[in-house]
């Protein structure tokens, strides 16, 4: 299943890119982008897990001719993916709201200049 291996690698790469952004970038907006990358990696992972070789979309009343039940993508995982997208939007919205207020207060987006709480 060459397609799927590529998908898993893509998900892993996206996750690592997001984590790398969080670890190395001090710009708050870039960190939110890193979170979005990690979020996107979960979508890719879930859709790849739902894939079955030669499958059709799981929106059916009856089996299409010539397809067995194993040849339908897993609707449960696709459903979770939708849930994750909705949550992702909410989270990005809240994060950006916090970043905007931080930028208004501190006049900077550098996380290293916004660290009064420590020790």
């Amino acid at each position: 299943m060459p397609v799927i291996v590529a998908n898993y690698l893509c998900a892993a790469l996206l996750f690592c890119l997001g984590l790398f952004t969080l670890l190395t970038r001090r710009n708050l907006i870039k960190m939110v982008m890193g979170l979005s990358l990690m979020e996107a990696s979960t979508y890719v992972l879930l859709l790849s897990l739902a894939y079955r070789p030669g499958s059709t979309a799981p929106v059916l009343l009856d089996m299409p001719p010539g397809k067995s039940p194993e040849q339908v993508a897993d609707p449960v995982l696709q459903n979770f993916c939708l849930t994750a997208i909705v949550i992702g939007v909410a989270v990005t919205g809240v994060s950006l709201a916090v970043v905007v207020r931080l930028a208004q207060h501190y006049r900077t987006l550098d996380a290293d200049e916004i660290r009064e709480l420590r020790g």
Binding site: M31, M38, L102, I114, L117
Partner: protein, 583 residues
Amino acid sequence: MSADTLGPLLALPVVLPLTGAAAAPLLARLSARLSMAVSILLLAGSAGVLLAAAPYVFGGHVLVHYFGGWGPVDGHVLGVTFGADSWGLAFALVTAVVGAILLLFMLSEQGDLGPRELGWFSCLFQLLLAGLIGGALTADMVNLFVWFEVAALASYALTAFFLERPLALEAAFKMLVLTNVASFVVFMAAALLYADRGALNMGQLQQALAGRPGIVELAALGLLLVGFATKAGLVPCHGWLPDAHSAAPGPVSALFSGLMVNFGIVAIGRLVYSVYAEAGRAALTLLLVAGLISAVGGAFFALFQDDLKRLLAYDTIAQMGVLAVGLATATASGLAGTTYHLINHALFKALLFLCAGAIVHATGATKLSEMTGLGRRMRWLGVAFGAGAVAIAGIPPLNGYVSVGLIHEGLIESHQFGALAAMVLAQVLTVAALGRAAWRLYARPSGTIERTERLRPGMLVALVALGVGCLAFGVLEPWLTAHVMTPSASALLDHAGYARAALSGGGPIAGRSVSFDYLNPAELLATFGTVVAAIPVLRFAQRHPDARFITRVRAVQSGSVNDYVAYQAAGLVLAVVALIVTQ
């Protein structure tokens, strides 16, 4: 009531606070008082329903409800299942009751806010409580993630609620980043488990996981552990906790520390014991190590804090460590002690954070050095803080003594004497840290406090209620141990019973027996010893707060989000690799 009547009611404890969350902003436009009364009544209703289910559940049963009638078909459940066992119900009940008390305090303290702010504040508060109660009752992996996320979103907004406070925004951002990473890994783990074993229902998943776990399952376990350890604030995923607790408003800190972080421990207990069962034993060593580091490290950091809420926040990390160690004992006494300590922590830590909030309300002081003598001038506050500190220090007859004693007993039964020694060390540091705060509050007033405002009646009621709770949970020990804590330990240990119940609409749990010897001379002597040993530690901390090794250790908590994510990521890699290599 019978299981048939109680089952369908199981949604109510979540639905009621959710309704309250929706209604609060609307009602607040009519009248702030009406909105407050309705919110508290709905939470009380939620507690009432849980209480009605309590005799049946604590009598050794699991109460199960399948939403929308999507019950099991040939041992497969795809619909959302709620399964209330003693472990989850105990936490849900405490959440509803303590949540109502905190809401009362919050609405009384923040009474000067405009009706709109008050409405939204109480909306977020109830949303968070609904998330915690739902997470405690659910028996479905992805549903657990959803409640985790509900609670998380509400918690970001609550931390940053007062948008004009830059510190709160800073804390909210750190919390947001770390908790989000945690939610991604939890979600991925749930999806991996479903894809690998085809099960969402925890009972079905447990049966599907029987036998030797493969690499995917172990990786998923590592991801789940780190995800919920972040919620619980266990080292090394604790970066957000001290900031969020110290920057949020008083009652919100109490909610975070008393209830929200406990949810992480509840979920870890559920996953390791009820879902992974035998395979989950692999995680216990990790849990023990993380717990001991959190217990000792948190208490050590608490010892050198000048900000009262930050001190309490580090102590929260220490208490979460104690809970993790309790979970890692895997004995009936240790798990009964963990449940007991979970409830106790909700009571005494909420009490202490409310005291800190009341001090800010009355005098505006946040630092210990500004509070000298405050306990003498404000008697009620002094008594309440003293009660909380004594309870944490584990001095009988208050509640901390019993729960810590039971966890010690669990460690002795499982022959982990090194861990026991580390626990006693953590206890000494904890007593010293809280003793230092109490010392300041009761010292001779130095005249630095300019204004003191009287506490409002709602605040006093909340402080008294939590203080009485601390005393009651210490005094009623024999009844509570037998009827609440032991069934909870049994529910975790009888994983087969839980799985059967979750797949067949409810069922019995095999009971264990736990007894606690209140007058055990060794335990009493250990308590006395920790208090005595704490005195030199306390004096050292007061004289040399800037010793070189202390500043070096404190530099670990650098305040940089990047560093905190790095600690968390290191924990993630370590957990997954350790689980896969050791199996």
